[in-house]
């Protein structure tokens, strides 16, 4: 039906998250229709990103410079490090503009069943950073999942010898959440983390 170049493009697009073979075919067709306005700028952007974007050696973020813009930003508080599982979590916190400290991307969570152990995560680098004189607090922003919290407790243990306060994100009622629709675990956590008004 179509040449090997088109089939290859469809096959590669189909490997992207959110795209199956059918939607990859639609995306490929759309790119061919918008060759000048979309396909060529997209190619240029992808080539540029592939050449220039790298992993920050300090925090694990993705940026065109190493150390990344967050690590070198003098206006950010270097005394607080927020530990996240993945770059997507870092981006979520940045989108919310609620945190002005430094980050550390772990690269996943401990999972015995998937064979992910402490050596597979950037835990040693985090401990080294926490030993620095400037760092006063480490915030563990892991997911409220069994694996996420197992990792958080493990990190707490590893950071015990560092002279830092270890905190974690609160668990409880989300903004706009109604108690009637919350699960038992969230309700229990919210009640346990109650505070005076």
């Amino acid at each position: 039906m179509s040449g090997p170049e088109i089939e290859r493009l469809i096959q590669l697009l189909g490997k992207l998250p959110g795209l199956g073979p059918r939607s990859a075919r639609r995306a490929a067709l759309h790119l061919f229709k918008k060759r000048e306005s979309l396909m060529q700028p997209l190619m240029a952007a992808m080539t540029d990103a592939a050449e220039r974007v790298r992993v920050c050696g300090a925090c694990g973020n993705l940026d065109t410079s190493d150390p990344c813009a967050i690590c070198t930003d003098g206006r950010r508080d270097k005394a607080i490090i927020c530990v996240v599982e993945d770059v997507a979590d870092l981006w979520a916190l940045e989108r919310a503009s609620v945190f002005r400290g430094q980050y550390h991307v772990l690269g996943g969570v401990l999972s015995a069943l998937d064979g992910i152990g402490p050596d597979d995560l950037s835990i040693g680098r985090l401990v080294n950073r926490a030993r620095g004189d400037e760092v006063k607090e480490v915030i563990l922003a892991m997911g409220a999942t069994v694996d996420g919290q197992t990792t958080a407790h493990y990190l707490t243990d590893r950071l015990r010898d560092c002279d830092v306060e270890v905190t974690r994100l609160a668990h409880g009622v989300p903004v706009g959440g109604e108690l009637d629709y919350l699960d038992d675990g969230t309700l229990g956590a919210a009640l346990k983390a109650r505070r005076p008004l």
Binding site: A112, T145, V146, T150, H153, D157, D184, G185, T186, G188
Partner: protein
């Protein structure tokens, strides 16, 4: 083919973008896996946390197929454990042992009931039940797991003298108890038998000191490794090793 059963989540691995392959310990169907479409979505993820008790409906064209699950929550055991590192460690070890050791689709109703008892005890707030109470229950559960897999230990009487009192050690070769007096010449080579594991020992959920818990974990760990994991060229799961280290 379809059935409905109660099941404890022991693993949920992401499959593709939005599905998970769920592994449950069910009462009537043993350890059983199935696909859950949409199981990785933010709304469903809480349901499939390890330790949660679900009412699961399995459906597949043939019994041998992976099939798919649809589930509803019966009791969320995972949530209350998230704050307590030791209990969470116990849950991690519990799930890793079941997932790695138990054969698939082989019913173990007694082990399922023992597992529920353990989860009940683990989920009681720390003010109600301390580690001195739930940790012996965990050791008993590992002993039940060994027994259900056909490697039960004989802790009823001494292998040498036949006495039932004064049992203090277990032979690492035979898995049989030995009294302190009979064990004297080999005591360095034997495994310690904690009081709470002896016949007529402390009741389920009764307190035991943590040194006895360590002895119990060493005892069950030895036989789990020897009978269950070593024949498959596997080590004890890392989650169990981390859990045991927390008691040192």
């Amino acid at each position: 083919m379809d059935w409905t059963d109660d099941g404890i989540v022991i693993a949920a691995r992401k499959h593709g973008e939005s599905a998970v392959i769920l592994s449950l310990l069910t009462r009537e169907h043993g350890r059983h896996a199935g696909l859950v479409r949409g199981g990785a979505s933010s709304r469903a993820r809480g349901l499939y946390q390890t330790g949660n008790l679900l009412r699961a409906s399995w459906r597949g064209r043939l019994a041998e197929h992976l099939g798919s699950f649809s589930c509803e929550m019966l009791r969320g055991y995972a949530g209350p454990l998230l704050d307590d590192p030791q209990r969470l460690g116990a849950l991690g070890a519990f799930c890793a042992l079941l997932e790695r050791a138990l054969p698939e689709r082989e019913p173990h109703p007694a082990l399922f009931d023992d597992s529920l008892h353990l989860l009940d005890l683990l989920s009681v707030p720390a003010a109600g039940v301390g580690a001195d109470q739930w940790a012996p229950a965990y050791v008993r559960w590992e002993l039940a797991l060994l027994g259900d897999m056909g490697y039960g230990l004989d802790l009823t009487c001494c292998a040498v003298t036949g006495e039932t009192d004064g049992l203090a050690f277990v032979s690492p070769n035979t898995g049989r108890a030995v009294t302190a007096a009979a064990a004297e010449p080999w005591r360095d080579k034997l495994l310690r038998l904690p009081d709470f594991l002896q016949e007529g020992g402390d009741a389920y959920g009764a307190a035991a000191d943590l040194a006895a818990v360590r002895d119990g974990l060493a005892l069950t760990g030895w036989f789990l490794e020897r009978h269950v994991f070593a024949p498959q060229n596997l080590n004890l799961p890392a989650a169990r090793t981390r859990f045991v280290e927390a008691f040192r």
